[in-house]
């Protein structure tokens, strides 16, 4: 993670085919049941 506030898109992880930023959309991301 370079910035921690949504700017760099470096922390993106793939959840259900979508890339999500852990810093602003996480740190915990819910997977669909």
């Amino acid at each position: 993670m370079a910035c921690g506030y949504g700017a760099c898109y470096g922390c993106a992880v793939e959840i259900e085919g979508r890339l999500r930023r852990l810093c602003v959309e996480g740190p915990v991301l819910r997977e669909a049941a």
Binding site: A2, Y5, A7, Y9, A12, L19
Partner: protein
């Protein structure tokens, strides 16, 4: 504003950090492409000696969603908005610039002609600028790569194609290996190298292009302090952009602006802008300094 301070494209999200964006003289968006893009697979960031590598790969909403979902909120910030435009062909650049041309909220367009993390368009930088030029009357800044034998030649070519300014420089392609496995640390292996190591490269490019063309230049690459900014101005930049420094220090714009003024003042410039291009000509530098010294001496005796 004497020497405007901007952000480098992709180094600031104005909607998650609006106060930082408001502290700039203009906000430059992350690169907008015709269609939405997921970007490159993770891992996308690797810290290295004297800088970092990124391999984001132009993740973004595409131009239509940008116009409806982001541009109104960006406009509400009250800061001039420059939109960075990317694509994979001249037609892409023409399309996005044509859409932006209709938007009063867009103050200028920066053409990302040099992203190191995606496939390049088959056309030359000048051909891409010419395609964009047809589509818009807005100011067009061509963002060039430092990874070229003669950046001044690129500058002359994009100027002839209708660019109104230059943005110098983009990141330069680099590779980092995991010390244990000796495998690339980034998902796409290579990425764009940025940070302090880029500064001498940026200075050389600005220095060469300021001699080659009579266009405004947004200098960027490894700027961390006001002195770094003043050096870019001395090499020929008319504005300065902050990139990687924003990741570690979101308050850099205000700090660098204050430092730039102090550094200029310490060298007896009334304004940092007076130092523009001073590195180009050692003789004029000493003449200017002598005149200034005489003037100051007269003022003291007056």
């Amino acid at each position: 504003v004497s020497v405007p301070i901007l952000n480098a494209s992709g180094c600031l999200d104005a909607l998650t950090a609006p106060d930082v964006a408001r502290s700039l003289d203009a906000f430059v968006t992350k690169t907008i492409t015709p269609l939405p893009r997921d970007g490159n697979p993770p891992v996308r960031i690797a810290e290295t000696e004297a800088g970092m590598l990124n391999s984001i790969g132009l993740q973004g909403p595409g131009v239509e969603r940008f116009l409806t979902e982001q541009l109104p909120d960006l406009d509400a910030l009250g800061v001039p908005i420059w939109v960075s435009v990317g694509g994979f062909s001249a037609a892409d650049f023409r399309l996005v610039c044509g859409r932006l041309d209709e938007c009063d909220e867009v103050a200028a367009i920066e053409l990302n002609l040099s992203c190191p993390n995606v496939e390049e368009a088959p056309e030359t930088a000048a051909e891409l600028v010419a395609a964009a030029r047809v589509a818009t009357t807005k100011p067009l800044y061509a963002k060039l790569s430092p990874a070229t034998w003669d950046v001044a030649e690129s500058a002359r070519a994009v100027a002839a194609a209708g660019a109104d300014g230059l943005s110098l420089v983009n990141t330069i392609r680099g590779l980092a290996l995991d010390p244990q496995t000796l495998q690339p640390r980034l998902g796409r292996a290579v990425g764009g190298y940025s940070g302090p190591a880029l500064k001498p490269i940026a200075l050389a490019c600005v220095y060469a292009c300021a001699r080659a063309v009579d266009l405004p230049i947004v200098g960027m690459g490894g700027v961390r302090s006001g002195l770094d900014a003043l050096e870019l101005v001395a090499a020929g930049a008319t504005a300065v952009a902050l990139g990687t420094v924003l990741f570690g220090d979101p308050h850099a714009p205000g700090r660098v602006r204050a430092e730039l003024a102090a550094e200029a003042s310490a060298r007896r410039y009334d304004d940092a802008e007076e130092a523009r291009g001073i590195a180009q000509d050692r003789e004029s530098y000493s003449v200017a300094k002598t005149q200034k010294d005489l003037q100051n001496a007269q003022n003291v005796h007056a």
